[in-house]
Subunit: 201 residues, 4 copies
DNA sequence: AATGAATGAGACTTCATTCAT
DNA sequence: CATGAATGAAGTCTCATTCAT
């Protein structure tokens, strides 16, 4: 007696996830070109051929992985949208970014990795460029709300800080004082501190 | 009339440079794995075989390219060391970073690209990690000199800003308001502004 | 109410026929190597696995398809044997060949296709070679009966005409004036015309 | 010291020919799909990879092989155009076709083979369809000149005879009385016999 | 009897590297 | 010093076949 449709669907879903997860990790670690389907298959504990039962090409698999990143971005945006107070929004943005960075380090590694791989660039930009733009706009809007003088420039700077920190953290990992920096950043962009200088008085 | 030894040596140097330059451009554009020796040879106007006369392997060529990046870093450091006034040092660091970013965009693209490719990572870190550390230390030292309250954290933040801006500029290029951001940053880290808040009073 | 043995057997036969028909069509269209078991299964509306329930291998399936062609030949031979008058036999041979060509174009396409594929060649020859020989002999016998001067050579020529026409029709299909040629051929091999020249007098 | 351009060119030409020849033989024997690049490389005594130095894909190689066939056709047409007398033209066409069939059997095998391979069909028709049309037209023109009553139909018949004979010869080879048939055909289409019936008077 | 997930061999293709000249 | 033909390993992808359910 054949398996039910549901059983098959479950099997498929499970295997597909396994492939995606391992592809994400490996792409993040070794880049798109540097990762072979064989690598992914072995890492996922399946045969090379099976990967093609789920993704019609390595490229297609990459696009699916990109969509995972997009979803991660979406989760960030949704969480931010649930917060109305602009100061809390700022705090949340910093907290979430760094938390996600620590938790899903590979996501960010992949995100940055993909951003510089020409085979991926266009798709990466189509899929992620919007998220970046939305994020910039969001920061800008917050800055307008709280009364920052140069919201456009300041949004670029906060954006740069967040991605710059991610960049350094991914590169240096164990050596980077991520928690210290996070605490400091939260304070710096806190309501009470936003009006003070970074210099001693 | 046979060429003198010196002439030969000069030719060799010239050919080597041509290979390195083209390798740099192509690695930056298409990644390490995405660039073939043939691509590089064609781009440099020489034969595949000749490239192996100058570099014993593709890997070796990559290491040499990495050294070019290191030299670029060195030039930045040397320029900074020639300046004693800490405020001017800060200004110079921002100016030079962004100027180099615009002028030698490919350097940075490659730098970031390599930073995420595991075949390259270790070497990239060995060669560039130190530079990064030196830069962080330099910023920290400047901040100490001018009396910033939290020099360690602030150095991480300025470092993040500079690399974050580079990151966004490389990704968005034509759309990114690099000049506006540069001007703003210079003002923000100027002697007169370092003591003011980013909020309207 | 459980099905009777006979009903089961009938179902099996029906499924088998469905597979064979679709295999024939696809082999004819895309060649043996160009057709996958999956293609056939999908086309027949069954699962890949089930196809192996009926044919132990793709090769085995192909042999079964070849047998279908053999049967088609047999039908032609049987129809011819039912006719005694040699002139009518000739007419019938031409009519039937061209009718079958138009009706079961795929049969012929496959027949010719298989004739040139070495994986299939031996079997194709074993199975079809005899039919061809029988047909040649039959034509020869007819020509002897009606008093053709060189029955051996003329039988090769009529054989060549029939297969040549099939060849051109399959290749050119819509452009080939099959009906005109058929009419002309029937006249040319008609009792009354067999004694006249093909030149104007 | 590097080889001269001429030396390289010679090497290339020689290897390319070797590949083409072996590809022709193997495609003719085992079909396009049935022949692997590895088969061809081994048969040509070169490495798999080298084949791609000469043909950018298996498909491209096939097209080149098709062009060889086209050239063979051209040679036939050119030889025919050098003859003005229509009767001699007919004789020549029959002679040449059968001579080429015997000499370059693989060409014809491939020609027929390709005509039924869907991966090849379109190209085969583009490249060979014209030749076929030209040949039909040529025969028709000859028949008009010599005063055949139904030149269109008779040209289809002679065309069918020639391709039908080729077909049977390729399939049966050693068993097929090709010389007998050739002699008979030459007589049948000779000036003196064209006005007589194929029946005993 | 029936399904389609899974395997593994083998096909096409690319490319770093070697080498004869 | 310089060339590009040639190799072979490795990568992408396909597909006949098996098998658990």
């Amino acid at each position: 007696m054949p398996r039910t449709e549901e059983q098959f669907s479950e099997m498929r879903e499970k295997t597909k996830q396994k492939i995606l997860e391992n592809a994400l990790l490996l792409f993040a670690e070794k880049g798109f070109k540097g990762t072979s389907i064989n690598d992914i298959a072995k890492s996922a504990g399946i045969s090379k051929g099976l990967a093609y039962n789920y993704f019609k090409s390595k490229y297609d698999l990459m696009i699916s992985v990109l969509k995972l990143i997009e979803e991660e971005f979406s989760r960030l945006l949704i969480a931010l949208n649930n917060e109305n107070d602009p100061y809390k929004k700022l705090t949340l943005m910093i907290t979430l970014t760094i938390e996600m960075l620590q938790r899903d380090e590979k996501f960010w590694s992949l995100y940055m990795n993909f951003a510089f791989q020409s085979e991926v660039k266009e798709e990466a930009q189509n899929l992620m460029g919007d998220s970046l733009k939305i994020l910039f706009n969001l920061i800008e809007k917050i800055f307008v709300e709280v009364g920052v003088k140069n919201p456009v420039e300041e949004s670029k700077i906060l954006g740069a800080i967040l991605d710059g920190i991610s960049f350094h953290y991914i590169i240096e990992k164990e050596k980077y004082p991520i928690d210290k920096v996070k605490t400091y950043l939260l304070q710096k962009y806190s309501k009470s501190e936003l009006s003070k200088s970074i210099l001693q008085e």
